[in-house]
């Protein structure tokens, strides 16, 4: 789960503390995401990626993660729909716009993780 919004990260943790989806790791910027993914990629089915973050944005982080693991599955979850084309071009499997309904978010994660 990659997002610089600390409150949102707390909400994601609460949501996924039960049920079939587990948050393996949380990163607060793109650089942390690349670093964390490199260390834990065996355990990660799907990366949820924000776009606008300090240090490194989501598109750059996506490219770097895919350079390290071309099979990485990354879902963009951004508040700004204008990044959609860039995100898909960088290799994201799906782009969702915040705010998204819980059901839609869970469906998207399950659908993309099944493509493994």
């Amino acid at each position: 789960m990659v997002d610089d919004d600390v409150n949102l990260q707390t909400v994601y943790q609460a949501i996924f503390s039960t049920g079939s989806i587990e948050i393996v790791a949380q990163a607060y910027n793109g650089a942390e995401a690349v670093d964390t993914y490199t260390k834990l990629n065996e355990k990660i089915d799907v990366v949820l990626m924000d776009q606008r973050m300090p240090v490194m944005d989501g598109v750059t982080a996506t490219k770097k993660i895919l350079e390290a693991d071309k099979n990485a599955r990354i879902i963009f979850l951004s508040a700004d729909e204008s990044c959609k084309d860039l995100a898909l071009a960088s290799g994201a499997k799906l782009v969702l716009t915040k705010p998204i309904r819980l059901e839609e978010l869970i469906d998207a994660i399950e659908k993309i993780s099944e493509t493994r």
Binding site: D80, T97, K98, R101
Partner: protein, 364 residues
């Protein structure tokens, strides 16, 4: 002014003292645009009244000046003269210094003046004060940047906050131990959040529509209507949209752009929002009996719009009522496509039996 590059340069005394004898010079002096000639060093050899007035001088005073004084920056001057060595310059905006030292903007056309053998002997051109125009442009740009900044805050920061609230509320709503009396308020809070999201989305779209250069193309209306319906269904998960059209794919085209989907989406969204039924029926029909224009109607069976509200909902202004800006966006888009829009009762005289949105556009 002189239009012949190889003409002999006018002398100062010819311009200032002999104009009553020469209608040509009278014409130059009475022109509303500033006219000037200089030698290669930048010393004025001819200026008319309008040109001198721009700078706050009398024409006679300008003959004592070199153009160097009127330039605000040497870099700007060098750029202009570098370009001038390649071609004539038409209507560029440059800064200039007035007699009182203040700075203004000048719309300048300038070219190299040559003698009969083609040898450069100076420069000549016309100029018009553009300070008011440039100041308005700068103010417009600043206003636009401010609006973009505020919209950006709304889109990014508020949507992030909305995301947190939305997921939290949905998490609570899923709690099997949630008392029944709390279920309804939570659903209402989620609905309010969706309204907020809708407002943010439309504010962003409206800003894009207003700012973006219009570049229209041929669009298949059926495709756009279908896309808009799918988008609407994804927003209203608990309602069913039944859409009927009297046309199919590839049958009707409009000269529009990618925002055509937004036009239909906002109309459908409004119909879904204000129809209390779970099943919402919407009809989109086209009439191509007019050779020049296409008529598109969007009919719903919802709670309708009272007569005194029909115009107002299309013209949301600051301080006006309304929450989603959807119909304001629709009106902007219709005008963008050179169309017209009006709202009618589905059943004449009974506004609460539904609305027909009537739009006409040039044939695509």
């Amino acid at each position: 002014m002189s239009t012949n590059k190889k003409e002999k340069p006018l002398k100062k005394d010819e311009n200032t003292h002999s104009e009553s004898e020469d209608p040509y010079k009278t014409l130059i002096n009475n022109m509303l645009d500033g006219v000037f000639q200089t030698d290669l060093e930048g010393n004025y050899t001819l200026v008319n009244k309008s040109y001198a007035e721009i700078y706050g001088y009398e024409p006679e005073e300008m003959y004592q000046l070199n153009t160097n004084y009127t330039w605000v920056s040497q870099d700007e001057k060098e750029l202009v003269f570098k370009e001038l060595r390649k071609r004539d310059i038409k209507n560029i905006l440059k800064r200039y210094r007035r007699k009182d030292g203040s700075i203004g903007w000048l719309a300048l056309s300038i070219r190299t003046k040559s003698d009969l053998d083609g040898k450069p002997i100076g420069f000549e051109g016309v100029a018009r004060d553009a300070t008011e125009r440039k100041t308005a442009e700068i103010a417009q740009k600043e206003a636009s940047e401010r609006a973009e900044f505020l919209i950006d805050i709304m889109v990014h920061d508020l949507n992030n906050i909305n995301q947190g609230m939305m997921l939290t509320l949905e998490l609570v709503a899923r709690d099997p131990d949630l008392p029944l009396k709390h279920k309804k308020p939570i659903e209402l809070a989620i609905a309010q959040l969706q309204r907020s999201t809708e407002l943010i989305r439309n504010a962003k779209r409206l800003q894009t529509v207003i700012e973006q250069t219009i570049k229209l193309d041929r669009k298949d209306v059926f495709n756009e209507v279908t896309k808009a319906a799918e988008l609407t269904r994804s927003v209203f998960l608990k309602k069913k949209l039944e859409l009927k059209t009297n046309f199919g794919r590839g049958e009707t085209y409009l000269v529009a752009d990618e925002f055509l989907t937004d036009l239909f989406f906002n109309l459908f969204h409004n119909s879904m929002k204000f129809d209390k039924n779970r099943l919402v029926k919407i009809e989109v029909n086209t009439d191509i009996s007019d050779n020049n224009r296409i008529k598109i109607t969007v009919t719903d069976y919802g709670s309708g719009i009272p007569d005194d509200e029909k115009m107002r909902v299309l013209l949301r202004k600051r301080g006006g009522k309304g929450s989603g800006m959807g119909l304001t966006l629709v009106k902007y888009l219709v005008e963008r496509y050179n169309g017209t829009i009006s709202l009618q009762d589905r059943v004449q005289g009974h506004f609460n039996h539904g609305t027909i949105v009537v739009m006409t556009f040039p044939r695509g």
